[in-house]
């Protein structure tokens, strides 16, 4: 199955789309993952997952609860080691945005950014912090304690921390799950702009429509197994749906999982 997934990656239209967008066909992949396995005792959370992502590609990771999305992202982020397999980049070249804001609620926005900039050994910490504050629109809240911010703004700080070291690859675990529709819209604009700037973005989500709208490629994970890797349109086609609307894509996805015994 791992090999099949890998093959699907090679011929993926999503890769081509991203590659053509960034203007280089057959570019060197920004991230290559091979044969990733993670076991928790008897339970296998990730079963030999392989895929590649091109520079500037937007990759959505979807799948039911307990599919292994968080586990896989955290292995890519270098938080836990895999039992088998390899990741082409060092953790320090990869930005990490966990599902819950991983910042100190007693510190202000600026203090959090400055702390992580220093820990990341960013050359000019203060300049980077100022730049991140501007980029994420948090300048006005710079002096506020993070614990007093709204969920949306906390998520922005969370993302800003992940971007401090200007990583070529950014991982986000369910970044939109706690946001209202407007905040969500702004989040995807921000992330799309990052990808347009050449950052490879891999994110997990339970919102299938989001994956359809904001992904060059969709990875379907179920029970630790990579079932599909391709463009959203290709996924709809794979299950015979006509992809006429968002509702249809979601039902196509559920049907797809059902056909694969999930």
């Amino acid at each position: 199955m791992a090999d099949a997934a890998h093959d699907a990656t090679a011929s993926s239209p999503g890769t081509d789309a991203a590659a053509s967008r960034s203007g280089t066909r057959k570019a060197k992949p920004a991230l290559r993952v091979e044969g990733l396995v993670k076991r928790y005792g008897e339970r296998v959370a990730v079963r030999g997952v392989s895929f590649e992502a091109a520079p500037g590609e937007l990759v959505a990771l979807i799948g039911p609860n307990g599919a292994g999305k968080t586990t896989m992202l955290s292995i890519l982020a270098g938080i836990q080691p895999p039992d088998a397999g390899s990741v082409s980049r060092q953790p320090r070249e990869i930005g990490w945005v966990p599902q819950q804001p991983a910042v100190y609620s007693k510190l202000s926005v600026a203090e959090n950014l400055r702390l992580f900039a220093r820990l990341e050994k960013v050359p000019d910490a203060d300049a980077t912090v100022a730049q991140m504050l501007a980029q994420t629109g948090l300048e006005e809240r710079a002096g506020d304690e993070v614990g007093r911010l709204s969920g949306g703004n906390q998520q922005r700080v969370n993302i800003a921390v992940g971007l401090l070291a200007a990583p070529p690859v950014l991982l986000l675990d369910e970044p939109s799950s706690s946001l209202d529709p407007r905040q969500r819209e702004r989040l995807w604009q921000f992330i799309s702009a990052l990808a347009a700037g050449g950052t490879t973005v891999v994110y997990s989500t339970h919102n299938v429509q989001e994956a359809e709208r904001y992904a060059d490629r969709v990875l379907v994970l179920a029970d630790g197994e990579l079932l599909f890797s391709g463009s959203p349109a290709a996924l709809a086609a794979a299950v015979g749906g006509d992809a006429a609307g968002p509702q249809d894509f979601e039902s196509a996805f559920v049907r797809f999982l059902h056909e694969h015994g999930h």
Partner: protein, 447 residues
């Protein structure tokens, strides 16, 4: 690493309520425990019925006067004494629980003591409801009665010795108000010697007097010896007291060491476990261990900071105690630091090990409490309070946790208690390393 420590201090500074609680609670707890330990439990009450009429309480024992009340002040230092009106009254008090025990002195005690021929009997009754207090009062009474017995027998012995010396050396004695002068053996012997010198050697009187003279010399020699013998009979066995094992400093000084250890323990363990759990509660742990800080570095930073805070606060507490409460030996101050430092490090290492078990600060604190408190109390259990194997178990538990070793080190450092200073310090160092290793192994399991 420096930034991480500064961050922790900044967070602590912004949580004044938490810090106040973290500092005040252990200190108050420590002071409570300390004062509870240093003040004796409520004194047991003793009812006394003295059947001897007031005017007869001072009486002659073999020629020297004895006051029946003179042993009571000694007794009332250890127990509360109440007077009973009669033997029945005293017994009723014990039955009703008003008194833990009653002592009844019979009316004829003075006569019997004065006559010195028949032994008087003191009646004692106990209430057995509170075995601890009963034991306390029983041992007090036994001690006082044996004191009284010893004092009386010394009086008898002194009088006897005086008589014997008078027999030997001569002197005057008052009998029924008249002074009677006694010649004494020595003078008699000298008189005989004088008479013998005037007699011819072959005179029959000389031979007879020579026999009396020999007897007198022998008697003088042996009577001198018999006073020695009598003195040693008065106290046949001398007691030399040695305290072995256990507590060797006075209770209130020991209480200071206990109070310091308790506050050092709570402050440091709570802080260390909380600081580590905070990283997980804020979900920052996974960010940090992605190459920003090593797991071991994180543990060292957290336990170092907690140990520093714990040692500093406890040092301040110690200084305050010295200034306002008890006069400590300031010359021992150089010993305070290593004891506090190593104790704090061991507690901090235990704290981070506890912190690895919890995902939130609150559960970490709860764990730290539920684990530390029983260990502290186990360490205070005296060996006599439990059976042999149970005490062995307690000793093992105490050796695994830093409380006992810190207590020993602080007792030596602050009170100059006898015993090795290096042993508990080495023990603490080993525990600190051990717990950091345990914590590091536990950290492998979570992200």
């Amino acid at each position: 690493m420096r930034w991480l420590l500064l961050k922790d201090l900044q967070i602590l500074r912004r949580s004044p309520l938490l810090v106040a609680l973290l500092v005040i609670y252990p200190v108050v707890l420590a002071l409570l425990i300390g004062s509870a330990l240093s003040s004796s439990p409520g004194q047991p009450t003793l009812a006394i019925y003295n059947g001897v009429p007031k005017q007869d309480r001072t009486f002659d024992v073999a020629g020297s006067s004895v006051n029946a009340d003179e042993f009571l002040p000694e007794l009332s230092r250890a127990v509360d004494v109440i007077d009973a009106d009669s033997r029945e009254d005293a017994l009723r008090m014990v039955r009703d629980g008003e008194a833990m025990a009653a002592v009844i002195l019979p009316p004829d005690i003075a006569d019997r003591l004065a006559s010195g021929r028949s032994q008087p009997t003191v009646e004692v009754a106990y209430n057995t409801e509170d075995p601890v207090k009963q034991q306390a009062i029983e041992s007090q009474l036994k001690a006082r009665l044996s004191d009284a017995n010893r004092a009386l027998s010394r009086k008898y012995e002194e009088t006897t010795v005086r008589y014997i010396e008078m027999l030997r050396d001569g002197g005057s004695i008052s009998i029924l108000g008249n002074d009677v002068s006694i010649l004494g053996l020595k003078t008699s012997q000298r008189l005989i010697e004088g008479v013998m010198a005037t007699l011819p050697r072959d005179s029959p009187s000389y031979t007879a007097l020579a026999q009396v003279d020999r007897f007198a010399r022998l008697a003088i020699q042996n009577l001198g010896l018999s006073t020695e013998v009598l003195r040693s009979v008065g106290e046949p066995i001398a007691v030399r007291q040695t305290l072995i094992g256990g507590r060797r400093t006075p209770l209130d000084r020991y209480a200071i060491a206990v109070a310091l250890t308790v506050s050092l323990m709570f402050l440091t363990v709570l802080l260390a476990s909380g600081l580590l759990a905070l990283e997980r509660e804020e979900h920052a742990f996974s960010r940090l261990v992605r190459g920003l800080v090593s797991r071991l570095g994180l543990l060292v930073a957290k336990s170092g900071l907690a140990a520093l805070c714990g040692a500093v606060v406890t040092l301040l507490l110690l200084t305050a105690l010295d200034l306002f409460w008890v006069d400590l030996d300031a010359g021992r101050a150089p010993w305070w630091l290593p004891a506090l430092a190593l104790g704090a490090l061991a507690f901090a290492a235990l704290g981070v090990a506890i912190g690895t078990l919890a995902r939130e600060v609150r559960s970490a604190s709860l764990l730290a409490f539920t684990l530390s408190l029983p260990v502290a109390f186990l360490a205070l259990v005296p060996s006599s309070a439990v059976s042999g194997w149970a005490y062995d178990v307690i000793r093992v538990v105490c050796a695994i946790f830093p409380f006992k070793a810190t207590l020993t080190a602080l007792d030596v450092a602050v009170n100059d208690a006898p015993g090795s200073f290096a042993t508990p310090l080495l023990h603490l160092a080993a525990l600190a390393v051990g717990y950091v290793v345990v914590a590091r192994l536990a950290l492998r399991r979570f992200a």
